[in-house]
């Protein structure tokens, strides 16, 4: 059985940053991912990373913008840490080799982004996530002797010892189908969000809530699960993301009458209000018949107002996306977009060092909820979140590992259990529904009832549907009976993960009877600080069935809640 001080599950930005940090502390580190690390969905982050590096800027301004963006649900102690450590982290990445765009003086250039009071987003064209991810992977290649990489290993569950401490994980090598127990003093979950529980979503097909569900099943509480971000600019048909950088560079949003309708809901920031505000404004235009396109289901994003040369240099990826996926030359004509599921602010509840309430279990990045994003994440704060808390989790886990011996749990029981569960899926008779059908219905249900606008009735109906889909998923059959790259059987396991995520999201959305950030209840349209300025925590019930709801306070340091206007 492989043994490591720190085992990291997920190899996107948070995971890779955690691995490098832990290795630097001298810990023996392993990083495991169900895909090759550079395929991780961090690669799709386009616009940039926020940090108050300008001499005119102050991290407190960044922190205030983040608090306001979160609709005051973010924990201010965590936000202070993220924003104050941001400049140093971004410089560290620059030194590592990230090819940040420069200004004429040769310093890092900064672009405008939504919800920010000044230009503070460092970027690499509109492939910032890719550039960061590939540079971190360069570092993993450099440190290949100190960081073990388990690439294309699918984690099926976390390993707990008799005291309930996390001491490893069970995983299946995708290439061979071999099951293995990994023993670790600490496990860091860094395996992203759960976008595939929605259809459509900007998220890749691999983003299936694995880490959230595994932590939940192990008994860790989830927090802010109702807070699901819809990005304002996604291609109408495919849900593919058009970066907020487009609006940062000056692009306009127009309705069918050619009006910049953001004047109504955000007269100051206009298109650069925070994402929940812009998405809601778009949805209102569409719902009230001022949408564009065949069914009036879209909004025009007009990039032609940005100088063409600037677009080609700084927004090249979306020039390609427009051409290849919508047949539109965005430098010449507007492109049709609409809000689409993009990010989950919620996740596994952690402290500022990535620790969950389960000893030995950490989480960082989208899988986690510290919470720095609260009710709504600002654009270009997610990359920052992954790096800051990935590093902190890696450092803390390495320090903890130095104080203890290698655990010696009885891993074989869990290993046999997970192997048997896979065998059982393979043996299911060909009756009932296919995994893909259930997944589609789940995604469509969530997109209908747990989207930009929500109400009691819709959420209740979603809850019922999810209950039925869970039962159906227990007998969903697969075609592939093999062991080599059996993606079919892994898809069945992922479906279970997604159902857990969807279920807890809907339960939390039903619970929060107010409108705050991304949670807009048409039946409770006001923000109610007296009653709801608190986090909703969801834990798995004793019997494993019904989620248990509890609350935890929001940490407020320097910024009292106020009315939120853009």
């Amino acid at each position: 059985m492989p043994e490591h001080d720190v085992l990291i599950i997920g190899a996107g930005l948070a995971g890779q940053r955690a691995a490098l940090a832990a290795a630097q502390q001298g810990a023996s580190v392993a990083i495991m991912s169900k895909v090759h690390p550079v395929r991780s969905h961090s690669v799709a982050a386009a616009g940039g990373i926020n940090a108050a590096i300008s001499v005119d800027d102050d991290w407190r301004s960044h922190a205030y913008d983040t608090v306001k963006g979160s609709d005051f649900l973010g924990d201010q102690d965590a936000i202070e840490i993220m924003c104050s450590e941001a400049p140093q982290e971004v410089m560290h990445l620059e030194h590592m080799g990230v090819t940040f765009h420069r200004n004429e003086k040769g310093e890092m250039d900064l672009r405008a982004f939504g919800g920010a009071s000044m230009k503070r987003t460092a970027y690499v064209a509109d492939i910032t996530g890719q550039a960061l991810l590939h540079v971190l992977y360069e570092q993993l290649m450099k440190h290949h002797e100190t960081v073990a990489r388990y690439e294309e290993w699918f984690t099926t569950s976390l390993l707990l010892d008799e005291q309930g401490h996390c001491c490893g994980a069970i995983a299946r090598e995708v290439r061979s189908g071999r099951m293995e127990a990994f023993i670790a003093k600490n496990v860091i979950l860094a395996c992203g969000g759960a976008g595939q529980a929605y259809k459509p979503t900007t998220n890749g097909l691999i983003v299936t809530g694995d880490g959230i569900a595994m932590a939940y099943r192990a008994g860790a509480p989830l927090m802010d699960m109702e807070m699901v971000q819809y990005h304002p600019t996604c291609l109408v048909e495919t849900g593919i993301l058009i970066t907020e950088g487009a609006r940062g560079e000056g692009a306009h949003l127009l309705n069918a009458n050619g009006e910049r309708f953001m004047e109504k809901s955000a007269p100051n920031k206009m298109e650069l209000a925070s994402r929940d505000v812009v998405s809601r404004a778009e949805q209102i235009e569409i719902n009230e018949g001022r949408g564009v396109g065949p069914n009036g289901s879209g909004i025009f994003l007009d990039v032609t107002v940005v100088p063409r040369r600037r677009t080609l240099e700084a927004l090249r990826e979306i020039v390609n996306l427009g051409r290849d996926f919508a047949g539109v030359d965005i430098t010449r004509e507007p492109i049709m977009i609409r809000p689409g599921q993009h990010y989950i602010m919620g996740g596994v509840k952690t402290d500022v060092d990535g620790r969950t309430p389960i000893d030995g279990l950490y989480a960082a990045g989208e899988v986690a909820c510290v919470s720095v994003h609260g009710g709504n994440r600002l654009g270009a704060n997610s990359l920052l979140d992954t790096l800051i808390f990935g590093r902190r989790a890696g450092e803390h886990a390495a320090a903890r590992a130095a104080t203890m011996g290698m655990p010696a749990p009885d891993a074989n029981a869990k290993l046999r259990e997970d192997s048997a569960a896979i065998e059982a899926i393979l043996a299911r008779p060909r009756e009932g529904r296919r995994v893909s059908e259930i997944k589609n219905e789940l995604g469509e249900t969530m997109n209908k009832h747990a989207a930009v606008f929500r109400d009691e009735q819709g959420l209740q109906s979603a809850l019922e549907t999810i209950g039925r889909l869970r039962e159906e998923s227990d007998s969903a059959w697969v075609d592939d009976r093999g062991t080599v790259f059996n993606q079919d059987v892994l898809g069945a396991i992922e479906l279970g993960f997604m159902i857990d995520c969807a279920h807890t999201t809907v339960v939390a959305a039903l619970e929060r009877k107010e409108s705050r950030g991304a949670q807009y209840r048409t039946d409770y349209p006001e923000r109610k600080d007296d009653e709801w300025l608190k986090h909703i925590d969801i834990s798995r019930g004793e019997d494993g069935a019904e989620p248990q709801v509890s609350y935890s306070p929001v940490t407020i340091t320097q910024w009292q809640p106020e009315e939120r206007k853009y």
Binding site: S40, T99, D109, V328, T331
Partner: protein, 386 residues
């Protein structure tokens, strides 16, 4: 316009090359007919077949938007990203109206459309020391470097490691040890980065390696294959120019001299003179150079090839002794290209991220390389400095 996409779904038939390593059987062809709008992608078609008919179809994929680099395959024999290839275009390119889908080449197939990228692609990437060897001392804030230099290396940074260029690299097919287009493009990302401290060592290493810089045969396959316009061969040529012209590296493989021989022969005659190529490659561009010992050795080694050429009439004694001739106005035109290029104070390099003038032709939108000089970019049309 988006309206252009309101075409109804159509039927598309896929012919997929399947391989199940556990069955003990050879690869076989498998057909499925799917129904999708014509502008949807080949990936969506494969996934529909997987979702509806056969969940055992193996394909790596994630983002669906040509950024994660997972779904490199061959469509109608050409390397491509499945998610980046439209069904109507794929059907139009098919021999018999059936879209043919296969795994990529030059890498071992693990199952169906999944190849072993670790065994080939990633091993080669690791070979080029793929991390920044940062100049010391590391500054407190960012390195101050020119805007153009960062925009320039961003073109190679845009490589998504999909393997499409590796799949169809002709040089790698002949010499599997060739470092190859993706890894050499990655090498440029550091050589071109002004923050890197060891460009000479990197270039020397790659130039001296018999399977390195000069192993590329300039066939353009990788340029055509790349879905992100990284232009790997262009990066290889830039590495060569920097190695030979800027760092004066003369490699043990005779690659630099061989290239110089080509250039001087074309300048002299406007067309290649094959018989003179070996002497010049080894002995340099002088009459005495013909008697360089290495040239003699190479000439002797070429005798069987030369005899075959003579026997088949591809070569004649007069052709060996005298250069080919082209009309004098053509020769003048060829020489004027040399004059124009050599009179430039600095080398021009292609880069797609440096987009030229604000009203340049829509070259980028058309997916065609536009020649633009980074050092001549007009600052007046730049976006905002902070």
């Amino acid at each position: 316009m988006a309206e252009a996409h309101d075409r109804p779904p159509e039927k598309f038939t896929l012919r997929m090359r399947r391989y199940d390593p556990e069955s003990g059987n050879a690869p076989y062809w498998d057909e499925h007919t799917v129904e999708l709008e014509p502008h949807r992608s080949v990936l969506e078609a494969v996934l529909q077949a997987k979702d509806r008919f056969d969940g055992s179809i193996g394909i790596r994929c994630s983002c669906r938007q040509a950024i994660c680099g997972s779904c490199g395959i061959r469509v109608n024999g050409e390397p491509a990203l499945a998610c980046h290839t439209h069904l109507d275009a794929a059907k139009a390119g098919a021999r018999d109206g059936v879209i043919e889908i296969e795994p990529m080449g030059n890498m071992p197939v693990l199952k169906d459309l999944i190849v072993d990228m670790d065994a080939v692609h990633w091993k080669k990437i690791q070979r080029v020391t793929p991390w920044l060897l940062a100049k010391q001392p590391v500054p407190e804030r960012e390195y101050i470097v020119s805007k153009d230099s960062m925009v320039d290396v961003t073109q190679t940074m845009a490589c998504i490691q999909c393997g499409a260029c590796v799949s169809d690299c002709l040089a790698m097919e002949v010499d599997p040890g060739f470092i190859g287009p993706a890894a050499l493009a990655k090498a440029y990302r550091f050589v071109g980065d002004p923050r890197d401290d060891e460009p000479f060592e990197r270039l020397n290493d790659l130039a001296q390696d018999p399977q390195g810089l000069f192993d590329c045969t300039h066939c353009f396959k990788c340029v055509q294959a790349c879905p992100k316009d990284v232009n790997p061969m262009g990066q290889i040529m830039r590495l060569r120019r920097i190695a030979t012209a800027d760092h004066k590296i003369v490699d043990q493989n005779n690659g630099a001299r061989h290239e110089a021989a080509f250039a001087s022969l074309i300048e002299n005659n406007g067309i290649l003179w094959e018989a003179e190529l070996i002497p010049r490659s080894y002995g340099g561009n002088s009459w005495f150079g013909k008697f360089a010992p290495a040239a003699g050795k190479e000439l002797v080694a070429s005798i069987p090839t030369a005899i075959r050429g003579l026997l088949r009439g591809k070569m004649t004694i007069p052709k060996i002794l005298k250069p080919h001739k082209i009309p004098s106005q053509d020769l003048k035109a060829v020489r004027s290209i040399y004059e124009r290029i050599e009179s430039r104070p600095e080398r021009y390099e292609l880069n797609l991220y440096i987009a030229g003038e604000d009203e340049a032709p829509a070259a980028v939108a058309a997916g065609v390389a536009s020649e633009a000089a980074g050092n001549q970019a007009d600052p007046a049309t730049e976006g905002s400095a902070q």
